[in-house]
C-alpha cells in the first residue's frame, strides 16, 4: 500500500512564471524508504516542502498529493496543520538552526506535543526522555534544558528524530539531514534513521546528495535534475546499472566519495549493504 502518492506536482514562481518543478509523480510505499537524489537547486527541497505545503507564498503548486488516501492539496490550512507533525513529520537540514535560539530545546518539544496530543508537562518529559535515550542521547533532561547553541548539530538532529519517534507519523521527510554534519556524526545519525525505519511503521523520504548515505538507507530512489525526475528505480539497480547519463556521472563521482567514507568507517557501511 502506498503511504504517499504524488501525481503531476508542478511548482512555479508566481512572479516570473518560471517553472521550477515541471511535473513530478512518485509514490512511497508503507515501511519503505525513497531517496531523492540530485545536486543543489535540482528541486529536491522544493518537492519536500510542496508535500508539506510549506513553500514560500510566492511559489505556487498544482497536482495531487495523497497521504493515506487523503488529498492534502484540498485541505484547509487548519486541517493541513493537524497533518503536519502528527502524520507528516519533517526533519530539516541544519539542527543548529532548527530550534528557536532564544528558548531551551524542550520548549519546542513541549509546544509541539502539547499541541497535537494535549499531554501535560510530565507526560511529555517521560515520553521524550524514553525516545531520546533510544537514539543514544545521554542525559535527555539536561539536553531539554539546554539552548541550541550549547548542543552539537548531531545531537540536535537526534532530538528531531526522537521527536519524530514520539509523534509516530505516517511519513517522515528528511531534507538533507546529514549534510551539515561531519562524517563520524553522519554515521551515528544515519544509524538512528535506519533504526527509526525498522522500529516504526512509517514510510520515509530521504533527500540527500550523498550517495553513500543513500545506498545504506534507501530501498528506492529518484534522481532529479533541473526540477525533473531523470531516473527512478530500486537503489540496488541504479547503483549497478544506471540508465541516465547524469545518474552514471553521480554514481561514478559518488562512489569515490563512498570509498573514502568506507575507509573512515572501517568498511562497515559496505559490509552491511
Amino acid at each position: 500500500m502506498n503511504s504517499l502518492e504524488v501525481s503531476n506536482l508542478k511548482i512555479w514562481d508566481s512572479r516570473t512564471g518560471k517553472v521550477l518543478v515541471p511535473h513530478s509523480s512518485f509514490h512511497v510505499k508503507q515501511r519503505s524508504c525513497l531517496a531523492i537524489v540530485g545536486e543543489s537547486g535540482s528541486g529536491k527541497s522544493l518537492t519536500c516542502r510542496a508535500i508539506m505545503r510549506l513553500n514560500k507564498a510566492l511559489l505556487h503548486q498544482s497536482g495531487e498529493i495523497l497521504l493515506q488516501g487523503v488529498n492534502l492539496t484540498k485541505l484547509s490550512e487548519k486541517e493541513m496543520r493537524k497533518k503536519r507533525g502528527k502524520q507528516l513529520c519533517m526533519i530539516v537540514q541544519n539542527g543548529m538552526r532548527a530550534f528557536d535560539p532564544s528558548c531551551v530545546v524542550g520548549v519546542h518539544l513541549k509546544e509541539t506535543l502539547a499541541w497535537h496530543y494535549g499531554w501535560g508537562r510530565d507526560d511529555i518529559t517521560v515520553k521524550m526522555k524514553r525516545a531520546m535515550e533510544s537514539v543514544m542521547l545521554k542525559d535527555p533532561l539536561a539536553i531539554m534544558n539546554s539552548y541550541p547553541h550549547q548542543l552539537s548539530g548531531g545531537m540536535l538532529q537526534r532530538v528531531m528524530i526522537a521527536l519524530a519517534i514520539v509523534l509516530e507519523p505516517d511519513v517522515v521527510i528528511a531534507d538533507e539531514p546529514t549534510t551539515a554534519l561531519d562524517t563520524i556524526t553522519q554515521f551515528e545519525v544515519i544509524e538512528q534513521f535506519i533504526q527509526l525505519r525498522t522500529r516504526m511503521n512509517c514510510a520515509m523520504i530521504f533527500v540527500s546528495h550523498d550517495l553513500a548515505v543513500v545506498k545504506r538507507i534507501a530501498d528506492e530512489m529518484l534522481v532529479m535534475k533541473d526540477g525533473a525526475i531523470v531516473e527512478r528505480g530500486a537503489t540496488r539497480d541504479i547503483f549497478s546499472a544506471a540508465q541516465h547519463e547524469y545518474t552514471r556521472f553521480l554514481v561514478s563521482t559518488g562512489l569515490t566519495l563512498d570509498h573514502h567514507f568506507n575507509k573512515i568507517m572501517g568498511g562497515v557501511s559496505h559490509a552491511e549493504c
Binding site: 513529520c89 530539516v92 528557536d100 532564544s102 521527536l163
Partner: protein, 312 residues
Amino acid sequence: MAMGRYIIKRVLISLPLLVTISFFSFILNQLSPLDPAEVILHAQGVPNITSELIAETKARLGMDQPLLTRYVQWFVSCLQLDFGNSYVTGKPVWSLLGPAFLNTLKLTLVSVIAIIALSITLGTICALREGKWVDKSVRGIFFLLTSMPSYWLAALIVWYFSVKLDLLPTSGMDTYQSYILPVTVITISFAGIYFRIIRSSMLSNLNEDYVLYGRACGLPESKITLHLLRNSLQVAISVFGMAIPVILGSTVVVENLFVWPGLGTLSVKSILSRDFPIIQAYVLVLAAAFVIFNTFSDIVNAALNPKLRKDH
C-alpha cells in the same frame, strides 16, 4: 544564576562610565569663554562690574580653588542632588530641574510605551503581510507622517482636535487628556522609524529554519509569531532603550508648542540666560539617563537572548 551575574557585571561596568561623564559635563562649562562670576553679577543686575567685585564673587563661590578640588566638591554634592544654586534666580537647581525632569519623564515614558506598542503591532502586521496592500499602505502613510516636521504636525493636530472639534486641551498638563496630543506627535515621529526596524528584523527571522521546522511540526501561527517576536525584538530593544534618553533630550520643540513645563522648556530658558549650574545639571542628568537606560536595555536583551548571558 548566569542572569544575576550578568546584571551585577553590567551595573558595575556602568559606574566608572557615570563618573567619567560627570567629569566631562563639569569640564564642558569651564571651557566656556564667559566668566561665571561676570554672568552672576550681570544676572543680579549689578550696574558697575569692577574687577574687585568679580574677584570677591569668585572667592564667595569657591571658584578660586583648583579645578580638581572643585570637581570633587561638585561631584559629592551632586550625589546628594545638590547641584548648586541658579545664577539667575538664586534658587537651588534641583528645585527647578527636579519637577521639570519629572514632567518630561512622564511625557517620555507614556510616549515610549505608545511607540513600543505601535511599532511592534505595525512591524508584525507588515512583516506577516509582506508585499500585500496592508504592508504597502502602512509604510506609505508612515513615510508621509514621519517626513512632516513635528512643529507642523503639532500645529495641524492642535488646530483640528482642539480648535475645530474642541475635544482636547491645546496646552499645559492639567489632565490626562493633556497627554494625548504631545504623545501623538512624539509617537508618530519615532514609531514611523522603529516599526521598520521590527519589520525588517522579523522578515529576516522568517527565513530562519526554526520557523520552517516549527511550521513543519504543525505549530499554530500564533505560537510561531511569538517565537519570531522574541528573536526580532532583540534588535529593537537596544533601539527602544536608547529612545528614552533621546526623547528626554529632544522634547524641546514639542514642550514649547504644548507649553509643557519640562526639561526642554527649562533648558532653552537656561541657555539663553547663561545659567551655568542648570545647564551643567541638565547635561549630567541626561548623560546619566543614557547610561542607565542603555544598561537597562542590555539587561532586557540578555534576558531574551541566552547567548549574551554566557560568561566569557
